[in-house]
Symmetry: C2
DNA sequence: CTGTAGTGACTGACCAGTCAGTAATATATG
DNA sequence: CATATATTACTGACTGGTCAGTCACTACAG
C-alpha cells in the first residue's frame, strides 16, 4: 500500500488544528508523551518503539529523526516537566507567610495538583522500576527532583521546629515519612492494587496532613 | 565443555551439603530464589531465563523441568513466602495483650524482621513494576497479601479507638498512611535513589512509629 | 539395563535500529 | 501564475541480534 488510508480526509480531532504531516516542532513532545504513557503502563523493556510511534501518529522511522534511540527517549521522558514544577514550589515556599502547618498543607495540595494528579506521576513508577537499569538517569532524578523535594519538606519541618510550632525530632526520617504516602499515591495510580483502592486522593491527603500535624506539634 | 568446572571438587559453600546433581526436591525453591533476585534487579522482561538457570546452578532445560514457562516462574515467586508471614502476624495480633501503641510497634518491627529486611521485600517492587502486565497475579497479591495486611492494621487502629487510646478518624485512609512508609522502605532497598538514602531502617521505623502514635492518640 | 535428572544446540518469533525511497512543501525559473 | 527543481519530513521493508521455549541426547542411580 502507498498510504495507510487517504491523504487529506477528515483530520479527526487533535489538539492543534493540525496539518497531519510536517510538524517538526511538535513531534518531540508528542513522542515523549506517548512514550511516558507506554513505559509506565507496560515497562521500559516491554514497550515497542513501533507502538510508541503509532501512539504519536507517526512511523518508527520518524521517531528516529527526533531521538537517537530508545534510551534517549527514556531520558527525555524523565528529564522533562518535573523540574519546572519543583522550581515553582521552591519559590512558593520561600514566599510563604503563615503557619507552618498551613505551609505543609499547601505543599501537599500543590504536589497533587502539579504532579501527583497529572501524567507526571507516572515518572515515579518508572524510576522505581528502572533505576537499576539506568544508573545515570536515576542519579539525575535523585539530584534534580528527589533531593530538591526533600529539601523543601526538610526546610518546612525545620521552620516549624524553629518557631516552636513543632516539637523537635529526627528531621531526616520525618521528611521521608511525609513523602512516602505521596509516592505511594502516585505509584498506586499506575499499579492497580497497591493502596487507596477506593479512597479519594484528596481525602487520603487530608488524613495524612491531619495525622502529621498532630504527630508533629508540641503536646 | 561438559561440566562448568569439575564434577566432585570443593562444592563451594552452599546451604545444604549438596550433591551437585540430582536434587529434585531443592530445585524449585532455588530457581524461585534466583528468579526473585533477578526479576527485582533487572525487571521481568529484561531478565533472561538462561541467567536465572545459571544463578541457580543449572541449565535452562532444567528450569523447564520444574516450571512450564517464564510466567509460571513469576507466579511462583510472588505466591511464595509472603502468605506464611501474614498468617503468623495474624495470630500474633489476635493473641496480643497490651496497649495498642505497643501492638502497632510490634507490627512495624515484625514486618521489618519477616518481610522488609528480607529478600521478600523485593516482591513489593516486582508487583509495583509488573502488576499491569499480570492482572491475575496482581489480584492474587492484593487479596492474599495486601488486603490481609491492611485488615491487620485496620483492626489495630480500630482497637485503639474502641479502647479510647486513639482519637476517632478516617480509619481506611489512616491504614494506608501507616503502610506507605513500609512499602517505600521495601522499594528503596531495590531502587537505589528513592528515600532513606542513608538513614538506618530501624531509626526510620521508630520515627514513623513515634509520629504515628502522637498523631493518633487523643489530645 | 531401566528410569530419571539434567544438558545445550537449535528454532522461530520478536524487535531495535537502518536506509533507500516517497511525498509534501519551499524555491527557482520561464 | 504555471511548471520545474531542490529540500525536507516522513515512511516501512529489511537485517542482525536476542531470547523463550523445545527436544534429542548424556550420564548417573538403583
Amino acid at each position: 500500500m502507498r498510504h495507510p488510508a487517504s491523504p487529506p480526509p477528515a483530520t479527526s480531532l487533535s489538539p492543534t488544528p493540525d496539518l497531519r504531516r510536517r510538524r517538526k516542532d511538535a513531534r518531540p513532545a508528542e513522542l515523549a508523551a506517548a512514550a511516558l504513557r507506554l513505559f509506565v503502563d507496560k515497562g521500559y523493556t516491554a514497550t515497542r518503539l513501533d507502538d510508541v510511534a503509532a501512539a504519536a501518529g507517526v512511523s518508527k522511522g520518524t521517531l528516529y529523526l527526533y531521538y537517537p534511540g530508545k534510551e534517549a527517549l527514556f531520558r527525555a521522558v524523565i528529564e522533562e516537566g518535573m523540574v519546572a514544577a519543583l522550581s515553582l514550589a521552591e519559590h512558593e515556599v520561600a514566599a510563604f507567610r503563615g503557619s507552618t502547618a498551613d505551609l505543609l498543607h499547601a505543599l501537599l495540595i500543590g504536589w497533587w495538583e502539579r504532579i501527583g494528579g497529572t501524567p507526571l506521576a507516572g515518572v515515579t513508577k518508572l524510576i522505581i522500576s528502572e533505576s537499576r537499569n539506568f544508573p545515570e538517569v536515576a542519579q539525575y532524578y535523585r539530584e534534580q527532583v528527589l533531593d530538591r523535594g526533600r529539601a523543601l519538606v526538610r526546610a518546612t519541618i525545620a521552620r516549624g521546629i524553629a518557631e516552636g510550632e513543632f516539637r523537635p525530632l529526627d528531621v531526616d526520617a520525618a521528611v521521608d515519612i511525609v513523602i512516602a504516602p505521596l509516592l505511594l499515591l502516585a505509584v498506586s495510580r499506575f499499579s492497580l492494587p497497591l493502596a487507596t483502592g477506593s479512597i479519594a486522593p484528596e481525602a487520603y491527603l487530608e488524613t495524612h496532613f491531619e495525622l502529621l500535624v498532630n504527630g508533629l506539634k508540641r503536646s
